[in-house]
Amino acid sequence: MFDDFFIRALVAGIGVAFVTGPLGCFVIWRRLSYFGDTLSHSALLGVTMAYSFEFNIAISVFIISSVIALILIQLQKKTNLPGDALLGLLAHSSLAVGLVVIGFLTFIRFDIMGLLFGDILAVTVNDLIIIWAGGALILLVLKLIWKPLFASTVNYELAEAEGLNPDRAKAIFTILMAAIIAISIKMVGLLLITGMLIIPAAMARNISDNPQKMVLFSIIGGLLSVVIGLFSSLEFNTASGPSIITAALVLFILSLLKIKQSIQLKN
């Protein structure tokens, strides 16, 4: 059944949505949208490394993104530049270096558009294994660090004072971010991965009154976006990433109607 490229894309997308749902909630809660952007821009460098050394793309992207995250943490400690400036610096310079490196790799035919915006034709059975095994591992680790990570997201000092070791949870979460970008790059493309993290979670925020509900709706929103997006990608011959993100945007707009309703009810 995995012979069909569309089935493969669908299975891959569903796997990605299960992971981006809960991680996306933390991205919103911890205000990490631009951090996610920076990591995914640096993913291009990871992809070129993979091609240069004939290495697995997901693993290569994971390594480069983790390194960029570590550099960011060091720069935050060592310089007086504000966080957003550092994020911009790393995002654009790693994107630029990645594109420059591509220029040198004349012996390989690159599908840059596919890389930037996702390509459902490119998903292989191997990718499926990476997405589902990697995704399961990410979710398992997230479940293990959930309490300290969530508590420190609500209030860092409470978590620290009551012995939950929030710094460790934060470091592990950073690695999980690099991992989700690595496994979802083929589906969504590196320019739009952050959209897959943020938009379903933002939609979920509009219709949730507690964290568990928000995570659940975020997963459901992601799944719907993937299914609707991929079918329309097939129908209209559009790139898979933008189609998925557009579907997510439509769901977000629908969730705004619910807010409007509840405001009217209150009045």
Binding site: W29, T153, V154, E162, G163, D209, P211, Q212
Partner: protein, 248 residues
């Protein structure tokens, strides 16, 4: 101050500096099981800093901290919660420890806010939020409670009731409490030991026995607060039940 098996946390000559400025320096104190230690002092005197050193929130401190428990309940002075996070009182109660439904209800009832259990944390008033903070800290039945201005924003009658509750909790759970207050008058009936800070320890000792007397408080409330909360804690007189002053 010798360490005994009842000691929960002990600071020896502890200090903390930020941007080359000492926030607090040379603090020694010890919190034991079943005892309430109160830190008083003016704004910026290092009360919260001292608590954060004791809790391990500040890691690069001066001096020594010995901690003998990991079961800690903390009520911070300032809690800024980001409302991008949908959080009900119930979710907040289980933030650092999983609790049974009955335990949540019990703690919320003790501080008088069980009716707010399903409310969104962002919709609470300052006093209500403070009661939830206290309920959360006591719900996990900690061995050490650190309460940084736990009744700020609570109305006056509620304030007295909450201090009585804090006293009761320290007895029932046999937990040690490090209490921070700017107003010794309202807390002194519960306190075993007072440390007065102003960047360093100005003085420390037990509040006078007489201060526990209700008639005394009724008669000389304001005056008592003044004499006790200002930094001269050498009492050269006691007050009798009738409110007379006797020289020691």
């Amino acid at each position: 101050m010798g360490t005994n098996s009842n000691t929960l946390v002990k600071l020896k000559n502890a200090g903390y500096q930020q941007n080359d400025k000492w926030l607090v320096k040379g603090v020694s104190l010890e919190v034991e099981k079943g005892k309430i230690v109160t830190l008083i002092g003016p704004n910026g005197s290092g009360k919260s800093t001292t608590a954060k050193i004791a809790l391990g929130i500040y890691k690069k401190f001066d001096g020594e901290v010995e901690k003998y428990t990991n079961k800690i309940g903390y009520v911070p002075q300032k809690v800024s919660i980001d409302w991008t996070l949908p959080l009900r009182v119930r979710d907040f109660m289980v933030l650092t420890e999983s609790l049974k439904e009955e335990a949540i209800d019990e703690a919320l009832s003790l501080t008088g806010v069980v009716h707010l259990k399903h409310k969104n944390l962002g919709n609470l008033s300052g006093g209500e939020f403070q009661r939830v903070l206290l309920a959360r800290a006591i719900s996990k039945k900690p061995e050490l409670l650190v309460l940084d201005e736990p009744v700020q924003g609570v109305d006056f009658t509620g304030e007295i009731a909450l201090y009585e509750l804090i006293k009761k909790i320290s007895e029932e759970l046999n937990c040690g409490i490090l209490l921070i207050s700017h107003d010794l008058h309202t807390v002194m009936s519960a306190t075993d030991h007072v440390v007065c800070l102003n960047g360093h320890v100005c003085c420390s000792g037990s509040p006078s026995d007489v201060a526990k007397n209700n008639e005394y408080k009724a008669l000389f409330g304001e005056k008592a607060a003044q004499t006790l909360s200002i930094y001269e804690h050498k009492h050269d007189h006691v007050h009798s039940h009738e409110g007379e002053i006797k020289k020691n």
